[in-house]
């Protein structure tokens, strides 16, 4: 990727690097030319890496004390909370860490939506990201089942029953997932195994995500292709490392606030009641980060179509690079898209809110309108906007608006033709 050849200074380093070029990789990572105008919305990639590592480390520790058995899981979690040294801290970090992970990933995704980071040539980065997001949801759901409380049990029942909507084979698939005729011990043990596996799959995909990123390089707030390395770039280290580090510290303050001051605010009190297959809690709600999709599921009055709508809401994101027909990446130069972007943000927040409310009356009506708009945004607004929207002039480089004040005729001409694309 980097054009220049790297040779380690020390003899030992050279000897080793000739056999395994780890030092070349490290050099590539430190020198990696990064757009100099990256704002703080770009720091969430680093923050997400931190979240993943935090979940893996705390999860490993919890697995040393947790017992994956229907008769003992609930007690073993209480044992972690009360008896294990610092068990409460580690569990609260892990439980709130999941929420922090999703908070960061939603900011990361919406950053991408605003600045058009999913567009050519970064489609593969984007699709790997969507797969990571799906795996995150799977891991979060499986992990939520493990404490074997009432919400764990009924959440597991409802989510696995989604598969029963599949015609003909649905019931068979659900029995197969359960390993029985209801959610029970065989379900718990396999959920534990898969919950343990998925973070490592995510880790592998994160490596691919970053690898794919390093081929074209970062997008940037003005969304133009830049020359690398050039006046428009800075080396990753120390510039971006320091900036990411500062943002991470700010993020950790929020994280710590939840862990130390309101560790249960994002959970449900019902999950401190042990699982009871005879009683469903009066009001079942998923964790906050799944609420928009839950609202979409409930807004469709048909079982199969509801499940299809919910899955499509996620999978439609994978088609985004082709649904958005605009050549201009950044919303900064797309006055209409910018407005629709904020409507979408509001729409998703509304879906999240009604997802937490009972599915009846006005809430149901709002959920239906918001669901319709969600699909409208991706299937109609984005494709049409690319052709209809009149974008504002895009600078030719990051430094041009500040340094390149000279009226270069060729440049001006190029800018005007860009506008009409």
């Amino acid at each position: 990727m980097s054009e220049h050849e790297y040779t380690p200074k020390s003899k030992v380093g050279k000897w080793f690097n000739d056999r395994l070029p780890l030092l070349t990789l490290a050099n590539h990572l430190t020198d990696y030319p990064t757009p100099k105008n990256l704002n703080y919305w770009w720091t969430f990639g680093g923050i997400l890496t931190f979240c993943l590592i935090t979940q893996i480390v705390t999860g490993l520790v919890l697995a040393m004390h947790y017992i994956a058995h229907a008769d003992m899981a609930f007690q073993s979690v209480e044992h972690i909370m009360r008896d294990v040294n610092y068990g409460w801290l580690i569990r609260y970090i892990h439980a709130n860490g999941a929420s922090m992970f999703f908070l960061a990933v939603y900011i990361h995704i919406f950053r991408s939506l605003f600045y058009g980071s999913y567009k050519s040539p970064r489609e593969v980065i984007w699709i790997i990201g969507i797969i990571i997001y799906l795996l995150m949801m799977a891991a979060a759901f499986l992990g939520y089942v493990l404490p074997w409380g009432q919400m764990s049990f009924w959440g597991a029942t409802v989510i696995t029953n989604l598969f029963s909507a599949i015609p003909l084979v649905g019931e068979g698939i659900v029995t197969w997932l359960w390993g029985g005729y209801s959610v029970d011990n065989p379900t718990l043990t396999r959920f534990f195994t898969l919950h343990y596996l998925i973070p490592f799959l995510i880790l592998g995909l994160v490596v691919l995500h970053i690898w794919a990123l390093h081929v074209p390089g970062n997008n940037n707030p003005i969304g133009i292709d830049i020359k690398k390395p050039s006046k428009d770039t800075v080396p990753f280290h120390p510039y971006i490392v320091i900036k990411d580090g500062f943002a991470l510290l700010m993020f950790m303050i929020v994280f710590a606030f939840f862990v130390f001051y309101t560790p249960n605010i994002l959970g449900h009190a019902d999950n401190y009641i042990e699982a009871n297959p005879l009683v469903t809690p009066a009001h079942i709600v998923p964790e906050w980060y799944l609420l928009p999709f839950y609202a979409i599921l409930r807004s469709v009055p048909d079982k199969l179509l509801g499940v299809i709508a919910m899955l499509s809401a996620i999978l439609i994101l994978a088609a985004l690079p082709w649904l958005d027909t605009s050549k201009i990446r950044s919303a900064v130069f797309r006055p209409l898209y910018k407005q629709f972007y904020w409507i979408l943000v509001a729409d998703v927040l509304i879906l999240g809110y009604v997802g937490a409310m009972p599915a009846e009356g006005l809430y149901l009506l709002i959920a239906r309108i918001a669901t319709a708009y969600y699909f409208l945004h991706f299937l109609v607004v984005l494709p049409v906007l690319g052709f209809k929207e009149r974008t504002t002039p895009v600078p030719l480089s990051i430094t041009e608006p500040i340094l390149g004040g000279s009226p270069n005729l060729a440049t001006v001409k190029k800018k005007d033709s860009f506008k009409d694309q």
């Binding site: 009924w154 029942t157 409802v158 696995t160 029953n161 989604l162 029963s164 029995t175 197969w176 997932l177 359960w178 390993g179 029985g180 005729y181 209801s182 959610v183 029970d184 065989p186 396999r190 297959p277 005879l278 009683v279 469903t280 809690p281 009066a282 009001h283 079942i284 409930r298 469709v300 009055p301 048909d302 079982k303 199969l304 509801g306 009972p358 599915a359 009846e360």
Partner: protein, 168 residues
């Protein structure tokens, strides 16, 4: 150019075919091990004493890890269930077919939408109401309103004697 099937092509195809069968034979046990095991299947039937259940009462028993509602229905409930026209039903089933002995309704207490346990004597039809996503069932456990696609399931059961029901 004419494409001639050579002996080598045959060998390739045969090798792939044997390889596919072999891979399938290895993968199937990996998949099937997740299906209900022998110990789960062994618990497939339950006997319940219903002598203490008075009219208008429901008991809930656990069968295959799922709740089974055994309701001794009142004459009004039976009349209500029988009076419904079949064309008003989303999943048309006669009450006679659901409760062989009309006084006793034995059914899986599992909402056919996404598997929650509906609440007794709630909802718009005096039957059951599922709190999860708002499905209303009538006094025969038939779906009347809401997202559930079918009526609550009737398990296989029989009266062993006047006071004992064997489910499964």
């Amino acid at each position: 150019m004419e494409k001639k099937t050579k002996r080598r092509d045959f060998l390739f195809t045969a090798t792939y075919a044997v390889g596919a069968v072999g891979a399938g034979a290895v993968i199937w046990p990996m998949i099937d091990q997740m299906n209900p095991d022998a110990s789960v299947k062994a618990l497939a039937s339950t006997e319940v004493d219903v002598s203490a259940v008075n009219p208008g009462k429901t008991i809930t028993v656990l069968w295959r890890g799922k709740p089974v509602f055994i309701r001794r229905r009142t004459p009004e409930e039976i009349a209500e269930a029988k009076s419904v026209k079949l064309e008003d039903l989303k999943h048309p089933e006669k009450d006679e077919d659901r409760a062989k002995n009309p006084e006793w309704l034995v059914m899986l207490g599992v909402c056919t939408h996404l598997g929650c346990v509906p609440l007794d004597q709630k909802g718009d039809y005096n039957g059951w109401f599922c709190p999860c996503h708002g499905s209303h069932y009538d006094t025969s456990g038939r779906i009347r309103k809401g997202p559930a696609p079918t009526n609550m399931e009737i398990p296989e059961y029989k009266f062993v004697d006047a006071n004992t029901i064997k489910i499964g």
